[in-house]
Symmetry: C2
Subunit: 195 residues, 2 copies
């Protein structure tokens, strides 16, 4: 069991409906020393690649991406939720569906910060159905960037996002993959990963 | 001129209506090596204080707060924009007015992560009218926490937020304070600060 699996086991909370709360250390209160370990691990898994920039999405991916970026020595760009319906030509635009809130949000990045041929590492906190990652992949496609890899903190392995991305040939690395969880007992089973 | 003033002078863009764009390095694309320097400087200014936690607000404060928190060795908590109108009793709630978008957003933090007597450092990217900082101070007041200080990257010194907070007795430290700027010439004048 790696450091993140251990922490999820200790401090994660399972609720009915396959809800995992990790808001004491990952996506509301943020344990930055854990983020540093995650940054080290992302670098161990992707550090051999040439990476020009990290892309993440507002809001809870930002902290993880910024701390990881210290290892990689590259800037972070975050896709922003569009605040207005006026989308001008200076922006790449895509959509992300929130299964939690049952709404579609438009997200944008400035065309100034993604250029054809740039090699981009996507980082986010959670992967379940893959909506946020597909949104970021769509932005990279519009910009003609190369998605070098996708680094995720916690993947819900029983939802289809991860499997679909692997089938599509992306280099996806999730630091913890939850195989199943039980709201009655609180038990969380992780998928075995190579050390 | 310190490192952040220098960077603003080089890469900031002034637009009519006293708009300063720093989205190439601070609040859209994020230069994490600059964030590290900012973290060092926040620690130089606040490191003598006992600090239990850093509070910031979604979204663009999160990266700065997380990188700074490495210096302080404390967790970061971020105030979230409320996604639904259902606010339950587990949350502290406050409001922030966006002068950019002319709307009031409700923001929340879980009561689990702020406790009476905790000493909190507020960190955010921008201070203009002070709406976001006052929102965070309100959350801390509800939680009976002690606001030890307020660390800001860029203060618009010609808007009233900073002056009001200093009059109210808060320990406010802004790494760069813009005294005035000129959209015609692009010139930016900084307020002199002690080294």
């Amino acid at each position: 069991m790696n450091f993140l699996e251990q922490r999820i086991k200790e401090d994660g909370r399972v609720y009915p409906g396959n809800v995992l709360s990790v808001d004491s250390f990952l996506n509301h209160q943020m344990d930055v020393s854990l983020y540093k370990e995650m940054g080290n691990e992302f670098f161990r898994r992707f550090g051999h690649e040439k990476i020009d920039k990290i892309l993440t999405i507002e809001a809870s991916g930002i902290g993880i991406a910024c701390v990881a970026a210290i290892n990689f020595g590259v800037p972070v760009l975050f896709a922003k939720k569009a605040k207005t319906s006026n989308i001008d030509e200076s922006l790449f635009v895509s959509e992300v569906f929130s299964y939690t809130h049952h709404i579609t949000n438009r997200v944008v990045v400035s065309k100034k910060y993604l250029h054809p041929g740039e090699r981009i590492l996507i980082i986010d906190d959670f992967l379940a159905n893959g909506s946020a990652v597909h949104c970021m992949l769509d932005l990279l496609k519009q910009a003609q960037c190369i998605p070098v890899g996708i680094g995720i903190a916690v993947e819900k392995g029983f939802q289809p996002g991860g499997e679909n991305l692997r089938k599509e040939g992306y280099h996806l690395e999730s630091l913890a993959i939850i195989e199943s969880m039980n709201a009655d007992t609180g038990e969380i089973i992780f998928r075995a990963q190579e050390a």
